[in-house]
């Protein structure tokens, strides 16, 4: 790689985020689309070696390796320059693509001899990106998209006995997640840190909107539990109502996970059915 003009993270990040890019002839990019596609493929294995020490660190270095290989003189240099990248990193797996793109952009700037972050600066930016991207990705994917699609599937089963919801979950989530993974990688590489700054502004309202829709579908599912399609007995409706009230009031309040709650309810009901068979 060329000798980098390394600068500290604090000196570059605020300026890059806050100010518009200076109008100048664009420098030729060193990473071809094929390399970015190779990085995209490797992002699918981001969590293969997930562990408590480095979390996604090894996966991050693996995803970045096609870019580093392209910018380095040989494999040995590429391998050694990836050691710092294999350290601690953790974020939402879809949004990790943005961080990989941003770091690839910084490494390319260094290879071109432009102003760029040094290794310590990149590590600090990676940590900051991990937290901020998780703060965007976790609510969007785990708390909005996933419940929305899963509740749609569950409603389809409750109301229509349709298994097609399984396809809805897989197709719907992947259209969204693969799309964002691809866009995040390419835009993170093309626009660097300035891309991250506008992500929260853009995705925040979308997350809120999707959660509201998920809440409406949750209400739809609750209505099928209280008044089952095709009719149900009054006892079933009362038991369903008791379950809904229990879940609404106590889930998360006690220090029990969903598995413990589920097993507890099943065992209590089983004991009840065994000891009071006349019910």
């Amino acid at each position: 790689m060329n000798e980098p003009k390394a600068v500290a993270a604090e000196a570059v990040v605020p300026e890059a985020v806050a100010s518009p890019p200076v109008v100048a002839p664009p420098a030729p990019r060193l990473l071809p689309a094929r390399t970015l596609w190779a990085m995209f493929g490797r992002l699918m294995l981001l969590q293969a070696v997930w562990n408590y020490e480095r979390m996604q660190g090894i996966g991050f270095a693996h995803a970045l390796s096609p870019a580093v290989r392209k910018l380095a003189k040989d494999d040995a240099e590429a391998a050694r320059s990836l050691v710092p990248q294999a350290g601690y990193f953790n974020t939402h797996p879809v949004m990790a693509a943005v961080a990989v793109g941003v770091v690839a952009d910084q490494l390319e700037r260094r290879a071109r001899g432009e102003t760029a972050l040094d290794d310590a600066g990149i590590l600090r930016v990676k940590q900051a990106l991990g937290s901020s991207l998780a703060a965007i990705g976790d609510p969007l994917f785990w708390n909005a998209v996933r419940p929305l699609l899963a509740l749609t599937a569950v409603y389809g089963w409750r109301d229509d006995r349709s298994w097609l919801g399984a396809l809805t979950i897989v197709a719907g989530y992947n259209a969204f997640a693969l799309g964002y993974r691809l866009r995040g990688l390419f835009q993170g590489y093309a626009r660097g840190l300035s891309y991250v700054a506008q992500l929260a502004r853009r995705l925040g309202p979308m997350t809120s909107g999707l959660r509201t829709i998920a809440g409406v579908i949750a209400a739809l599912v609750v209505s099928t539990v209280l008044l089952p399609t095709g009719g149900g007995t009054a006892t079933q409706a009362i038991l369903g109502m008791a379950g809904v009230a229990l879940g609404l009031m106590f889930f998360g309040a006690a220090r029990l996970g969903p598995g413990e709650w589920g097993l507890g309810i099943v065992l209590i009901v089983l004991a009840w059915a065994t000891l009071a068979p006349g019910f």
Partner: protein
């Protein structure tokens, strides 16, 4: 499909969903409704798979795979629970007609998910050794070590999923058959009582998570009142 083919495919499917839930692809095949439906289809009981998968889906929505929190292993739990319920269907016709195998399938699923959580922690600690080895090899200039480590991690998770599915399926099928041959009517009665409570608790817990904030709460309760009114007044 023969029983042995169903068992074999179920074990392989357990490995696939274990890998999908974290290590490889993350296509959400590991969501209980998806993996339960497929597991049910492998045994010729798609409807049973959907029913258990849907209930477990609601419970699993309370699990957020965030940070270092070890999540319950709902993917493998669902595959095992559905397969066990399918095995028990027909062992005791009365209990089966009442849904007894479904209740026992849920017991199997929840226990497998809870025990699986400790196994996931163990697996993640094992990965620490693999990560340290990779870092050492990278420092020595071996770029290929990254590829080898990543594929080894994914293969390890797949093998773990298959092994855990096979073990849990054997244990619960054995215990379940013994219980149902001795009369599984209590399970059938328990399903009649427990099914609405479980559905209610599952969706109640999801609704609790989705109704944080006044606006979300107002939208939810307004929608619920509207949907209940529509269901009450819709022509039968």
């Amino acid at each position: 499909m023969t029983t042995s083919a169903s068992v074999l495919l179920t074990v392989v499917w357990g490995g696939v969903v274990a890998a999908d839930s974290a290590a490889f692809l993350q296509l959400l095949l590991s969501q209980p409704f998806v993996c339960g439906t497929v597991a049910g289809a492998l045994w010729g009981h798609t409807a049973l798979g959907c029913e258990l998968g849907a209930i477990l889906q609601l419970f699993s929505l309370g699990v957020l795979p965030i940070g270092g929190r070890p999540p319950e292993d709902f993917p493998v739990g669902t595959v095992v629970g559905v397969a066990v319920a399918a095995v028990l269907t027909g062992v005791d016709p009365v209990a089966s007609a009442q849904g007894g195998p479904l209740l026992f399938g849920l017991v199997a699923a929840f226990v497998t998910a809870l025990v699986g959580r400790s196994l996931l922690v163990w697996l993640r600690h094992r990965n620490e050794g693999l990560a340290r080895w990779t870092e050492t090899r990278l420092a020595a200039g071996d770029l290929g070590a990254l590829d080898r480590a990543q594929w080894a991690g994914a293969a390890q998770t797949f093998a773990f999923g298959m092994g855990w599915t096979a073990l849990a399926l054997s244990v619960f099928a054995f215990v379940g058959e013994a219980l149902f041959r001795g009369g599984g009517v209590a399970f059938g009665r328990a399903w009649q009582i427990g099914s609405p409570i479980l559905w209610g608790f599952g969706i109640g817990s999801v609704a609790r998570g989705l109704t944080r904030g006044n606006r979300a709460r107002i939208v939810f309760w307004t929608a619920l009142v509207g949907f209940l009114a529509l269901r009450l007044w819709q022509p039968t």
